[in-house]
Symmetry: C2
Subunit: 234 residues, 2 copies
C-alpha cells in the first residue's frame, strides 16, 4: 500500500481508510465469517443473473487485489470501470494503467460520458457503457454516497466493506463484510459453483436478508471482543 501510495494509485485518505478496514478485520478474527461467505454467495448469484454487471474499481481496490478483480471480471464476465473518490485525470490514468499492467484487457473510466444522479462533484462521472447502464454493480471499498446513488438509480449494489455499520453496508443490496482480498476470490468460487444452477441463484437472491446478515456480523464481532478479554488474553 505504501509503495502504491507513492505511485499515486492510493490516495492519502485511502491509507487511512485501509487502516479503518484493518481494525474491523481484526475484530472479525481476520477470517471470512459465515455471514461474509453467505453474502459472497448471493453476490455471485446477482453477478450471474445480471444483464450488464460492472465491477467498480478505486485506488485501494486496485492496490489490494488487481489480479483477483481481473480474474473475477473474466469469470462472470463483467466489465471493470475505474471510479475514484478523489478524482484527478492523473490518478484515473494511474489506476487504469496499473490495472492494465496487471493484465486487464479493457478498463472503462478514462473517458466518462454520463453522470450518476444524486452525487454532486466529479465523483458522479461514469460511462454510459459501464456503471450508467449497469443493472448490478460490485463496489469494493466504496463510500456511502455512491452506494446510495447506485441504489437510487435502481441498481443492485453489492458492497465489500469491513464495517458492518458503515453507510455503505447499511445501504447496499448485498453487503459483503469481509476483507477484499478474501472476498473477491470467494465470490469467484461461487460464480463457478452457481454458473449452471439458475434456480439456486434465484432462490439465494430471494431468500437473502441483508439486515439480518449484518446483525449476525455485529454479534460475531461482539462475542470476539468480549471473549478475548474474558479469556484472560487481556
Amino acid at each position: 500500500m505504501a509503495e502504491l501510495s507513492q505511485r499515486g494509485i492510493v490516495a492519502t485518505t485511502g491509507l487511512i481508510a485501509h487502516g479503518r478496514g484493518e481494525a474491523y478485520d481484526y475484530l472479525l478474527g481476520e477470517m471470512t465469517v459465515p455471514e461474509g461467505e453467505k453474502a459472497e454467495e448471493v453476490a455471485a448469484a446477482h453477478l450471474l443473473e445480471a444483464v450488464n454487471p460492472v465491477i467498480s474499481v478505486n485506488g485501494n481496490a486496485a492496490a489490494l487485489c488487481a489480479e483477483e478483480i481481473i480474474s473475477l471480471a473474466e469469470a462472470v464476465p463483467a466489465k471493470m470501470e475505474v471510479n475514484l473518490f478523489h478524482r484527478s485525470e492523473k490518478r484515473i490514468e494511474a489506476v487504469c494503467s496499473y490495472m492494465e499492467s496487471m493484465g486487464a484487457k479493457r478498463i472503462l473510466g478514462r473517458r466518462p460520458d454520463a453522470r450518476l444522479e444524486g452525487i454532486t462533484s466529479d465523483r458522479a462521472l461514469c460511462t454510459r457503457e459501464g456503471i450508467h447502464s449497469a443493472d448490478v454493480v460490485l463496489v469494493p471499498l466504496e463510500d456511502g454516497d455512491r452506494a446510495e446513488a447506485l441504489m437510487a438509480a435502481g441498481k443492485v449494489a453489492i458492497a465489500i466493506d469491513l464495517n458492518p455499520l458503515s453507510r455503505t453496508s447499511r445501504t447496499a443490496t448485498v453487503s459483503v463484510v469481509d476483507e477484499v482480498t478474501r472476498a473477491i476470490p470467494n465470490i469467484e468460487r461461487f460464480v463457478s459453483e452457481l454458473r449452471s444452477h439458475p434456480d439456486k441463484r434465484r432462490r439465494l437472491i430471494r431468500d437473502f436478508d441483508n439486515q439480518a446478515n449484518l446483525k449476525g456480523v455485529a454479534r460475531r464481532i461482539c462475542s470476539h471482543l468480549v471473549e478475548d478479554i474474558d479469556q484472560g488474553k487481556a
Copy 2:
C-alpha cells in the same frame, strides 16, 4: 494528517494506524467513555506521583496534538522525548522541529545516549535523562513492543490507544482507551484537580483495575454495535 505526512512527520504506516484508531473511535461513539475518563484520572495521578515523568512523542502524536502534549508537559511538569517506530535522523529532526515550532521549549530525543532493553533495532534508542531514567512514561499511540519493554524495565507505562484489545492496551499499567486529542486535555484537567490531593492520587492508583476497566470498554463497544443495528439504524 495528510499534510504532515507530506512533510515527513507522519509515516505512511502512521496514516494506516490512524485509520485503525478512527474505526475504534467510531465504535466508542466518538466520545470519552466513563472507563476512558477513569483511566485518564489515574494517569494524571501517576504523572503527579512520579519522580521523573516523561511523555514519549511519535509522529502521529505530534501531528494530532502537539499543543495539547506541550501544555500537559508544562502542567505536570514532565519531559518530552521524541521516539519513533520508523526511526531516521531526518524524521527525528522533523518531529523535534515541529514540536518546537508548536511551542515546545525542550525536546529530548535528538541525541539518544541509552537503550531500552527488550527491543531490538533502533527503536530501543532513548535518552538517559528522559525515558531511560523515567519512572512513569506516557506513551500515546505506541506499539506493543515498546509498552512491554517499558513495563519490563519496571516503569509505569500509561498508554493511550483506542483499541482495547491491542497488545499495548493489554500490557500497560494504565490503558487510556480514548482518542488522543480528547485524552491529553482530560489528563491535564485531572492533573489540576489532583495537584493538591496526594491522598486521593494514591487511592486512585491503588484501587484501579486496568483489566476490569478494559473489559468495561469492550462491553461498551459491543452494546454500541448491537444497539445500532437493532435500533434499525442499519
